[in-house]
């Protein structure tokens, strides 16, 4: 069948699907954003439900981590370096943006690698990078440490809140349930390799499809998952970037500097073995990441239920009322990858 015709068939079938309800979860914030940007929900039968899982690092960061960053940013001679969208996330009292308005030294960077040059240029300032992320980003932090050691830099540390995918996916399946298929995160898989998700599919008996980020790729992935419902199985539809074993150099580099740990997730509590922390021998590069477990949820905020797909964002009592992108209570509304933000922006109701 010609490609265009096949795509048309897929689009028709997804629109007219009238079988049992299929609940599909994406666990990558960039997938969440791409699904919204492409207007995919409006193309699906009401019997196909897309649920945004805990895949946006900004959204799953607990308030204790933000509070620590705020505290550091207000410390003399200290500069907190961060990615853009973490700046607006509120801790128990304030966000880094609020702290900046009070005179804190906070700087937004495109790449953690830039912190090396900054630390060299300004030896009198202590830099702390807000190291959040999943398997895709952890290797970047490993490179930062490697360069810092190589160049004998002593004024750069990481405050880590690093997460890993498989444990939280298991947690979602065991605690929320009702997921018929997972869109596996393409860029995590580019680093870890497809094996991680193949194994999970087998272990959980739920189908996983690794997807790229174009609209057509996502449609085909959703179509595949609808067909695979109840049968389990695994497909890699992003072979261009995702190989069986992934980036082994990156994995080794991560393993050299980091080790597996328990980690606290916003609204979900501590999940055993779901994080990465710096190994003991590299602790001098840690800015105090241990024990940051407290998670101060604003009253009424249902981030925890949204993050695991128990409720849709619009079922949260605060959604669109007191919680909007302009005045976000929960992290899901702050990040442009957050599920509440995306529902709000794209009318995905």
């Amino acid at each position: 069948m010609a490609a265009d015709n096949f795509l048309q068939t897929v689009i028709e079938e997804l629109k007219n699907y009238d079988g049992d309800e299929v609940r599909i979860m994406e666990v990558c914030g960039t997938h969440t954003a791409a699904i919204s940007e492409n207007g995919i929900p409006a193309m699906l039968s009401p019997k196909i439900r897309l649920i945004s899982g805990p895949g946006c690092p900004v959204c799953v960061t607990v308030t204790a981590v933000i509070d620590k960053l705020v505290e550091l940013s207000l410390t003399e001679n200290t500069c907190v370096l961060t990615f853009g969208d973490l700046i607006r996330v509120k801790g128990s009292k304030m966000s880094l943006a609020d702290a900046k308005a009070e005179g804190a030294n906070v700087r937004m960077l495109y790449s953690p690698m830039e912190s090396i040059a900054l630390a060299k240029e300004n030896p009198a300032i202590n830099y702390v990078f807000a190291a959040i992320g999943f398997e895709t980003t952890t290797p970047v932090y490993a490179m930062v440490i490697e360069k810092a050691i190589e160049e004998n830099i002593n004024n750069l540390k990481l405050l880590t809140s690093l997460k890993t995918m498989p444990e939280v996916i298991r947690w979602v399946v065991n605690n929320a349930g009702g997921i018929d298929g997972f869109i596996a995160p393409g860029h995590v898989a580019a680093v870890t390799g497809e094996g991680v998700f193949k194994d999970l599919a087998k272990e959980l008996g739920i189908p996983f499809v690794v997807s790229g980020f174009e609209g057509e790729q996502l449609l085909l992935t959703i179509y595949a998952l609808v067909k695979m419902k109840g049968k389990g199985g695994f497909k890699n539809l992003y072979k261009k970037a995702v190989t069986p074993n992934g980036n082994e150099t990156a994995q080794k580099c991560v393993d050299k500097y980091f080790e597996c740990s328990d980690s606290s997730w916003r609204g979900m509590g501590k999940i055993s073995g779901s994080g990465m922390i710096l190994r003991q021998e590299y602790k001098q590069y840690d800015a105090g990441s241990a024990g940051l477990d407290e998670d101060h949820m604003p009253p009424g905020c249902s981030c925890e239920k949204v993050l695991v797909g128990k409720i849709s964002p619009n079922q949260c009592p605060l959604f669109g009322k007191s919680c909007t992108p302009d005045n976000a209570h929960g992290a899901c509304m702050v990040s442009t990858e957050g599920s509440c933000y995306n529902y709000y922006i794209s009318g995905r109701h």
Binding site: A42, G84, Y110, T324, D326
Partner: protein, 336 residues
Amino acid sequence: MRITMAHGSGGESTSKLISEVFAKHFNNEYLSKLEDSAVVPGAGKLAVTTDSFVVTPLEFPGGDIGRLCVCGTVNDLLMSGAVPKYITCGCILEEGLDIDLLDRVIASMAETAKEAGVVVVTGDTKVIENRGGEGGLIINTSGVGFIPDDLDVPGPFKLMDGDKIIISGNLGDHHAAILGKRMGIESNILSDNAPLSEMVKKLMDGGVRVHAMRDVTRGGLGTVLNEFSEASKCSIELVETELPVSAAVKDFCGILGLDPMYMGNEGKMVLSVHKDDAEKALLLIKQSRYGENAKVIGSVSKADIDGGDRGVFVRTKIGGKRVVGPMYGEGLPRIC
């Protein structure tokens, strides 16, 4: 030479700076008198606007703060249907500012004013203490324009059922040029800062029924169209494949996780025109300077509004439909 506190003293250094930089470039019959106020010929209905410019860096790919402030002020006047006539130039100089840089910026401002057909009739300079760094520059410009007596002034509340939405060129160039410079991403992307005088004049002279027009600045196209939709109680549907974005800006947005729909411009406008005039309007804009990439990107509907379809929508490339909300927050680069 750099700006010192003496340049703000009101004494000899101030006079010298004014004559050697400002009066030199702005040389015209009103300003050159250096009186407390400029006295200028007037008209019946006036449009008055003011805007402050705090952009860094002061010189950026495709423009500088001087060109930018004239474009911003002139375009604001044009969007109200006015013919821009006079602008003012209030400069706050930070101690340490390189005078050669100031000279280039003011020369650029004068040149842009000439292009846009306005006269810089009065100005002011003040010097503030250095706040750490190279020495910055903030410019405030006010502008006055004449509104033709017989003009039916366009407004965001005047959109009509069936109107066509036209954008005068590519989205996001200014934002990408500035942000790229700040984030260390090199590119050939140039700011689009430009006065829209020529295309607006052509549209007005051509009798095009323009129901609303707005320059697309901070907040981007998404924010402007939401204002239109809200004020006129209508839905606006855009066609994604028609939205003009250069390949470079598209990838720039991809690197930082930004959406061209919310990227700022400084030389683009969006119009809602009567559907029968759309073709003519497009042609006139395309024939004007800075209008070569203009496109009809969507249409207005007032039907089914009770069904809750008010708002701005995009028909996506793959046939989906999404809502475009106004921009929230600062539009920060997204990375993870």
